[in-house]
Symmetry: C2
Subunit: 175 residues, 2 copies
């Protein structure tokens, strides 16, 4: 999933620094992505090494450290155009750490997994509430943030139904 | 998502070589993951560098090239145990290249996106059919493959409903 390109798009819009770019990313995409702000820095470094962005160190007041501002280069703008026209016709992979744990865990680890599912369900419900709030943003119904939120909410609702069923199955094994 | 650990788990079960491990992975997890068999090789290299697996070059008949067989080391078995008991209590991120393209694409790129959605819907339907087939495997209902398939099918069905809505919205803009 191309975080690198999203960071490039943000920088091309207007120059920015690491943490601020992470905030702009979440404002656009929403909390469903679960962006870790620290993931923005390696993306910026990779873009800089490829010559797609340039870094400009901004010296600030005595009390604040310097800040690194990034801007897109002409090569960066060209790469962005290419990405924005690349095909998105293939379905996303459906992957979860939980699938791996179900497949590779020993049967005697399943009761512990069932216990963890209760926390996972709670976390999923909290995330769903935050994403669903964006469905009612003060924006036109076909604004990107609302279209994205609809997709995220649909996936999370489906995930929650599955998690409840899974917990019931694993809990019944314990009995 | 920890493909590296899944590959380690497969190798710990019994030693294997790249392509065969990819096949065993898909038999366990199903087609929803969309594993690219070539992704197994960097995972094996990383595991080897960390001392978690060892490679053994197997010389075969004159007509076949040598084959590299991998086996788990004691450190690999210990790392596997740690991973199998790591928490899975946090919800998965909900990420899609399509979310990025909606957020960062220009409005005039939306008609082209709507056209691509038709192919994406078809691909998603094909993937769903393959994953749903695993729900009826000749296995107990709480076998890992069936539990995983239920989760994958739920996500893909939700995704398809969203893709249809999204295509309708974007197509209406064109009119």
């Amino acid at each position: 999933m191309s975080l690198k390109h999203a960071v490039l798009a943000l920088v091309a819009e207007r120059r920015g620094y690491g943490y601020e770019l992470a905030q702009r990313f979440e404002a656009r995409i929403g909390p469903g992505w679960q962006l870790s702000p620290s993931a923005v820095y390696p993306a910026l470094e990779q873009l800089e090494r490829s010559g797609l962005v340039v870094a400009d160190v901004q010296v600030r007041g005595a009390r604040q450290g310097p800040r690194v501002l990034y801007a897109a280069t002409p090569a960066g703008n060209a790469a962005l155009e290419t990405w924005l026209h690349a095909p998105v016709d293939r379905p996303d992979p459906v992957r979860s750490e939980l699938h791996l744990r179900l497949a590779f865990g020993q049967p005697d680890a399943r009761p512990a997994l069932a216990v963890q599912l209760t926390d996972r369900i709670r976390g999923c419900e909290r995330l769903l509430a935050r994403c669903a709030a964006r469905l009612h943003h003060d924006e036109p119904p076909n604004a990107p943030a609302r279209l994205i939120a609809a997709g995220v909410v649909a996936r999370l609702e489906a995930e929650l139904r599955w998690l409840h069923e899974l917990r019931d199955v694993l809990a019944a094994e314990r009995a």
